[in-house]
Every structure is written in structure tokens, then in C-alpha cells.
């Protein structure tokens, strides 16, 4: 049985960069990599053992195949062929649900499902997720992940907020990276986190976010977290009126609440809090933020 990994993520997130690292960075491990397009792969011509129309065989035992029109037939041809591989990796298209592709390994006795890695463009993901045409595609991908590679860290200004946002869309562990530079060993043998598409659809989750430009009263926030119904988890970065120079990071998982000191504030000073729960149970108390704003003077 060959372990089977799917690498998903939206166009431009860095899937190909990650694949390039994979092909170079795991000596002795024979990968078969199914990609949409050879063009972006950075393959050293001296290492190419054989190049036919749809496949490139490398001297190190790895093989790249283009998927063309049908992943199903490409994958079956590979499995029916004579060559054996230590690991099969599929690059999902930018709009595919990688979880559904990983399902193929459950159906195929010659494969074992290793996991779904979703590469996330740290600079663009939130904007993309808010897009009315591709937002649901992005959130389905995030929900399917067993591991998130949060890529292009160099372009984000407020990482803590992004981490917080991401945690409301996926329970998967996050590897943070620049140029998809992650330890290859961490990409395999993943624990299952991604929602099976047969589980609760993402639409059954609701999130509720607050943003306050001015410092907020600590008791008001605690009351909000206590009184809101149906909250599964909450995360936030807050500027409390009692210590306005400190950034406080709030985590709520079930009934456990942690508030930790995260050092001093950069230029951006707004407080943000995100609640995540199941519809229709999630009923945050509709408190006017002004009620616990310290306010001027």
C-alpha cells in the first residue's frame, strides 16, 4: 500500500513550491507526484531520466505525471503500471476540494490515506475567503485540511490575527512558512483533522466577530464569553482598559478560558474577538460594544 497525500490550496498559495521542495528534499524516498502542469515544476534537467508527454521520470526514482483531464484515470494508470513508489502525492487544482480527492485512497486498496495538506497564502486568504464567488471554495479547502501550511508569512503584518482567524476555519495544526520552506518530515503521517465531506457541512458552523477600536472593559468581555450560547471556541486579541499598553490574547476552548500577555501593541490598536459555534445554537449576546468601551476620558 502506498501512502497517499493530497496538497490543496487556492491558486498562487504555493502548492508547486512545496512540491518542488518535496522532489528535492527527501533523499531515498521515491515519490510519484501528480500535478496539473509541469511548467511550474523546477526540475533539474540533469536529473531527468526519461521524459514522455505525460510523465517525467527522475534519476532519484521519483516520477511526475500530469493529470490532464481526469485524475481518476491518471491515478489508476499509475497504480496499474509496473513501477512502485514509497508515496503518492496529488496536487489538487486551485478550486478542488482536496478532501474529496483524498477519499480515493479510502476506496483504493492499494493506497492508504496519509493526509490532506492545504497551503494557505497568508497575505490573501482572508480577502479570498470573503469573496462571494470563491469564498466557499476556500473555506471548504481549509475545513478539509489535516495540516495547514501558512505560507508567505513575510507579507502579513498581524500574524496573531491571522492565526486566530484561521483557527476558526480549521482545527488542523499550522506550519508557518516562507517560500513553503517546511521540514519535509512533518508533512507525512498526519493525524486526521479535516472534516470528512460526509461529516457536518461547514455551513452548519457560524462565527461571530467583534472589533472595537478603543480599549475594552475586561469584565464586559468576560461576561460576553460567559453569556454567549453555543460557543465552541473563541479567540481574540484585546486591549483592555485596565492595561492598555499590553496585548492580551484570549483563548476559549469549551469552558477553559486562557488570557495571556502577548507583549506590547504595534501601531494597530483595535481589539478583535471571534466566536465559533454551531448553528443555530450560537447566540452571542448582542451587546453594544460601547457599553464596555472605556471611552474617551
Amino acid at each position: 500500500m502506498s501512502p497517499f497525500t493530497v496538497i490543496g490550496g487556492f491558486l498562487g498559495a504555493g502548492k508547486t513550491t512545496l512540491l518542488n521542495r518535496l522532489l528535492r528534499g527527501a533523499p531515498g524516498r521515491r515519490f510519484a507526484v501528480l500535478v496539473n502542469d509541469f511548467g511550474a515544476l523546477d526540475i533539474d534537467g540533469r536529473l531527468v531520466a526519461e521524459h514522455t508527454g505525460d510523465t517525467i521520470a527522475l534519476a532519484n526514482g521519483c516520477l511526475c505525471c500530469t493529470i490532464g483531464d481526469s485524475l481518476v484515470t491518471t491515478l489508476l494508470s499509475l497504480l496499474d503500471g509496473v513501477r512502485r513508489f514509497d508515496h503518492i502525492v496529488v496536487e489538487a487544482s486551485g478550486v478542488a476540494d482536496p478532501g474529496r480527492i483524498a477519499d480515493l485512497a479510502v476506496l483504493e486498496p492499494r493506497l492508504s490515506r496519509d493526509g490532506v495538506i492545504v497551503v494557505v497564502d497568508a497575505g490573501e486568504v482572508r480577502q479570498r475567503a470573503a469573496d462571494r464567488r470563491v469564498g466557499d471554495t476556500i473555506t471548504r479547502q481549509l475545513a478539509a485540511a489535516d495540516l495547514l501550511v501558512l505560507n508567505k508569512l513575510d507579507v502579513v503584518s498581524d500574524l496573531a490575527l491571522l492565526r486566530c482567524w484561521l483557527s476558526t476555519h480549521s482545527p488542523a495544526p499550522v506550519l508557518e512558512a516562507r517560500h513553503a520552506d517546511v521540514p519535509i518530515g512533518l508533512l507525512f503521517g498526519l493525524e486526521r483533522h479535516g472534516a470528512s465531506s460526509a461529516d457536518i457541512p461547514a455551513e452548519d458552523f457560524a462565527s461571530w466577530s467583534y472589533e472595537w477600536p478603543d480599549p475594552v472593559e475586561r469584565d464586559g468581555v468576560l461576561a460576553l464569553l460567559r453569556d454567549a450560547e453555543g460557543v465552541l471556541r473563541a479567540k481574540g486579541i484585546l486591549r483592555f482598559a485596565d492595561s492598555p499598553d499590553k496585548r492580551a490574547v484570549v483563548h476559549l476552548v469549551g469552558r477553559r478560558l486562557d488570557i495571556t500577555d502577548d507583549g506590547s501593541w504595534p501601531d494597530c490598536t483595535a481589539s478583535r474577538l471571534v466566536l465559533l459555534g454551531l448553528k443555530p445554537g450560537l447566540r452571542p449576546t448582542l451587546v453594544a460594544p460601547a457599553r464596555f468601551c472605556a471611552g474617551p476620558g
Binding site: T66, G68, V72, L76, R100, I101, S197
Partner: protein, 544 residues
């Protein structure tokens, strides 16, 4: 240089100068003239052929959206609800219950070699009052041989226990697309990628080749010819060498009864490679095979719940569908092929997909202005009047899926679209009113190829249960006949060469037993097809 003049009961030309004549003259495979015998004798010595004296001649029908897979699937037994004509002219009887399907396939099964898989196609349970096929049914066909019954939409299939066991599918298998009963046991019904995977597992990868090899394209041409079609598309094909060679061999024969236009699958390779490949293939074009079309598939299907829809989405609350190719990629692919001078056919079922495609064309035109590109929305089933106005302004065409009204109209009304949007779907009336050049199509093998039936759908807009879906979107018989001839030819940029009976055009005719303009509009689908003429060569339709 011989000239043959055919007389007919009536010849409907689609030429507004003389829309109805009695004689047509053919020389060297082309139309020399259409008029009275006396007028045509002016060309010199003619041979009068009166075999069609009691027939009605129209321009050969043009099917702008079909797939050569129609010929491929006939290698396997058809088990649909409606009668369907097979390539040899025999009528496969519609099977009116799951019992009938099981009985028919049990009979087929006995003739197969030991261990060979049994595939069937065309099954549609929506007509069986909610009863679905299950393992008890498929296991009655065979317990040891793999059995896969593919549904008419080609996205769902029913398998037997032998197939499920091979993949280890049990109640605990947690995979999208495995339908389970109220006790949590798999019923054998499989959906989307799971269905496709299991069908290929059962049948072997060579299934893909079988579906579009030389024999398949011959069967496709024959089944098209039986319906009066002289030009048809194979509208989405990666065009691997094996398929191209089969097409070239088949079309090289004078007996091949069809002009075939394959559309290259734009997303299958990067545009720079694809453009070079298609330009190379165009050098191999012949009279019956024309490489020139490109296709981009954006979303899924409405009935498959995978169409990309604008607000408010599916009537029954199903989440929005999926992109096959996302908006950014649509822009990139369209621009590349547009710049290279190609006409691009864009599959859009949902109205969000249509919107994205229209905006992609608008952006491509802003970057690279082009006249007469005729980029065409294929299906455009949910396009509303505003979208048609934008298409008109941008010089786009539409090819509307009129057959959907009959086959899935009831489901669209009750579940997927709801009343208003079901009534305005496949909006031929709006296309006419806004001046968008349009065709209507069958998407064979999804529905049978038969332009007279497709025209009947656009004229009557009746669902399978008899509901009229959108009075205001009906078009006249004359308008529908134009849509299946000159209208479709225009969407393929072939209108200067075929699509009407006019001097200099190819002598491609549909020969009918009756006059479609004289029969009652609701009988249009029942007008018999005697056969076709392709480039002056006569092809009588074989009758069962």
C-alpha cells in the same frame, strides 16, 4: 461536372429571399441553386432526381453541443426510461421500472464471458416515484461479476456487492458519494468522483479509449445521421493522439456521414502548449473533420447540484456548487486563447458561472479587442435578461440546453431552481428579444441527439410530467428550425459555409418525411427523418 436537381414536396431554405422552393441543384457537393426547375435548368444540362419528390428538405441539422461519447456508450446496454434510437437504427425500448432494468441486464449478463464486468448507461430513477435502485437489485443481475449501472447524468452510478467488496466499502466507510440507507448500510448508489472511480475500477482504464475510439466516432456519426444531423461537435476532448488518429481515419472515408468538430479541452494543458497543438491539428482538417474549437468548463450541472449559482442559490437550500475551473483561471485561459484568435466555448450552467464568463470576455476584449470573436456560452441555462443584454453588447453567442426543459424541468421547478427560475431557464425567447445569436442543443449522450426533438422542447417547453415551463420563453417553429440549422452554424463560425440552402454552400440536407412548418407545433418531434445528404452524397437512415 454533373449537376443533379432534386425535387421535393417543399424545400425550406433558411434563405429569407426565397424561404420555400421546390427544387435544389447540386454540383460538386455544393449547392448550385434553389428555385424552380426552370430556373435551375439555366445552369445547363441537369439530371432530375425525384426520389425526394414527396419529402421535405431542410438544411442539414447542426448539433452545436454533443459529445462523441454518445457513440462510445452504445458499446454498452442502454437502460434509460425513454426509448432511444441506437446507431444501427434499432429502437432501444425505454425501461419503465427497476424490475425491467434488472430483467434486461440479467439477460445481457448471461451472454458475457466469465468474469467480464457489466456496464450499462442511461438509467434515471427520477421517474420511479422515489424508489432508488439498491444492492438487492444489482445483486440479482450478478453476485460475482462487477455490475455498474451508470445514470443518465453520468455523475451517479449503482454498483453491486462484487464492486463494493473489491473496494472494501462497508457501512463504516466514510467517503463522500457513498449513499447509505436508513440503517447506515451502503445501497450501492455512488456519486461523483466515487462513482467514476468505481466504474473505471470495474471496467479498466481502457474504458476511456473505448469511449472515443474510431468505432465510437463511427457510431456517433451514424446516430447523428439518423436524426438528420450533418454537422456535430464533440464539445470537449483532450484530443490524445489515439483519439485524433481514430477521427482522421473515420473522417477520411466518403461513407462517414458527418462533419465533426471536436473542441479542444483548454484546461488539459497550459495554453501555450494547447494553442500550438491545436494549430498543428488544424493543418490536418478535411471536409468531414474540423479542428477549430476550444472549450472551457467552468462549473458543474444544475441537477447534479454542482452549478455555481448567484444569490439566492438552490431552491432546496443545497449549498452552492463547485468550480471546475475557478474565476482566475477562466480569465487566464480565455485571454490566452482569445489572443491567439480562437473562438472559445464556455460551459456555464449556473448564473454565477455565466456572470464570471461574461466578465472574463469583457476583460479579454478590453485587453485585446477583437471583432467577431463569437465566444459562446454553452448551456447558459440560468442566464437572465440582463446577462443576455451583456452578451449581446459583447458580441457573444449562446447555445441553450432546451432538452433540459423536458428531462429535468420538473426537478428544476420543484427542487433545484424553484418556479420562477425554472420558467425562465434556457431562455430562447429572451435570446431572440435581446438579439443574442443562439442555438439549442442536446448534450448527447446526456440526452439523445435529435434536433427536431430539441426544437420541439424550445417551442413547447413541456416537462416530462406535462407542465409548461415559461410561456414567455417559447419560440415559434420557424425560429426553432433556424436555431438547429443556421443559428447553430453561426455559433460555430460555419454559417458562411453551411446552415442554409443557398448558392455556393455545402449540399448538406436533412430529408424529412413531413413538413415541420405544417404539422401542429406539439407534433414537431414526431416528424420522421428519411435521412441526410452530406456534400451531395445520400445517406438513407436505416429503419428498425
Amino acid at each position: 461536372m454533373s449537376t443533379t436537381v432534386y425535387s421535393a414536396r417543399r424545400i425550406l431554405t433558411m434563405n429569407p429571399d426565397r424561404p420555400s422552393v421546390s427544387h435544389v441543384a447540386v454540383r460538386d457537393g455544393r449547392i448550385l441553386g434553389a428555385g424552380t426547375l426552370e430556373e435551375l435548368r439555366g445552369w445547363g444540362k441537369v439530371e432530375l432526381d425525384e426520389r425526394f419528390a414527396h419529402k421535405v428538405i431542410l438544411p442539414g441539422f447542426v448539433e452545436g453541443h454533443s459529445h462523441a461519447y454518445e457513440g462510445g456508450v452504445w458499446k454498452f446496454p442502454y437502460v434509460g426510461y425513454f426509448d432511444r434510437v441506437s446507431p444501427d437504427g434499432t429502437r432501444s425500448k425505454g425501461l419503465k421500472s427497476i424490475e425491467e432494468v434488472v430483467a434486461a441486464l440479467s439477460a445481457v449478463e448471461k451472454g458475457l464471458p466469465k468474469g467480464a464486468p457489466l456496464l450499462a448507461w442511461g438509467f434515471d430513477p427520477i421517474y420511479f416515484g422515489g424508489r432508488r435502485m439498491n444492492l438487492a437489485d444489482t445483486d440479482r443481475i450478478s453476485t460475482d461479476r462487477p455490475v455498474v449501472v451508470i445514470h443518465s447524468n453520468f455523475h451517479v452510478a449503482n454498483a453491486n456487492t462484487a464492486v463494493l467488496a473489491k473496494a472494501g466499502i462497508t457501512r463504516s466507510t466514510n467517503v463522500h458519494g457513498i449513499v447509505k440507507d436508513e440503517h447506515g448500510e451502503p445501497t450501492g448508489e455512488l456519486q461523483e468522483m466515487t462513482a467514476k472511480y468505481m466504474a473505471y475500477r470495474a471496467a479498466g482504464v481502457e474504458l476511456a479509449a473505448v469511449l472515443s475510439d474510431e468505432q465510437a466516432v463511427w457510431r456517433f456519426a451514424r446516430v447523428a445521421q439518423l436524426a438528420g444531423v450533418t454537422t456535430a461537435t464533440d464539445l470537449h476532448n483532450e484530443l490524445p493522439d489515439s483519439t485524433v488518429e481514430g477521427y482522421l481515419r473515420a473522417s477520411a472515408s466518403d461513407d462517414f456521414p458527418l462533419r465533426l468538430l471536436p473542441a479542444f479541452a483548454a484546461a488539459s494543458v497550459p495554453p501555450e502548449q494547447g494553442i500550438a497543438r491545436l494549430q498543428g491539428l488544424m493543418k490536418r482538417n478535411n471536409d468531414r473533420l474540423r479542428f477549430q474549437l476550444v472549450k472551457i468548463v467552468t462549473d458543474g450541472s444544475i441537477q447534479g447540484l454542482s452549478a455555481r449559482m448567484r444569490w439566492p442559490g438552490y431552491y432546496d437550500g443545497t449549498p452552492n456548487g463547485v468550480w471546475n475551473i475557478g474565476p482566475d483561471e477562466i480569465d487566464r485561459l480565455l485571454l490566452a486563447w482569445h489572443r491567439a484568435g480562437f473562438q472559445v466555448h464556455i460551459h456555464t450552467n449556473g448564473d454565477e458561472a455565466s456572470e464570471v464568463a461574461i466578465e472574463a470576455v469583457e476583460r479579454a476584449l478590453a485587453v485585446a479587442p477583437r471583432w467577431d470573436h463569437r465566444h459562446t456560452l454553452q448551456h447558459a441555462q440560468m442566464a437572465d435578461a440582463g446577462q443576455f443584454r451583456r452578451m449581446k453588447a459583447l458580441g457573444m453567442c449562446a447555445n441553450l440546453f432546451a432538452n433540459h426543459l423536458f428531462y429535468w424541468g420538473d426537478i428544476h421547478y420543484a427542487k433545484t431552481l424553484g418556479p420562477e427560475r425554472a420558467e425562465r431557464m434556457d431562455a430562447c425567447g429572451t435570446a431572440l428579444a435581446t438579439g443574442v445569436p443562439f442555438a439549442i442543443h442536446c448534450d448527447a449522450p446526456v440526452t439523445p441527439i435529435g434536433p427536431l426533438f430539441t426544437a420541439w422542447c424550445a417551442v413547447n417547453r413541456l416537462t416530462a410530467s406535462g407542465r409548461t415551463l415559461g410561456e414567455a420563453e417559447k419560440i415559434s417553429v420557424a425560429e426553432a428550425l433556424r436555431a438547429i440549422t443556421l443559428g447553430a452554424a453561426y455559433t460555430l463560425k460555419l454559417d458562411e459555409e453551411l446552415g442554409s440552402i443557398d448558392v455556393g454552400k455545402r449540399a448538406d440536407f436533412a430529408v424529412l418525411d413531413d413538413d415541420p412548418l405544417s404539422v401542429a407545433p406539439d407534433k414537431l418531434k414526431d416528424v420522421g427523418v428519411w435521412g441526410t445528404v452530406l456534400g451531395g452524397r445520400i445517406f438513407e437512415a436505416r429503419k428498425a
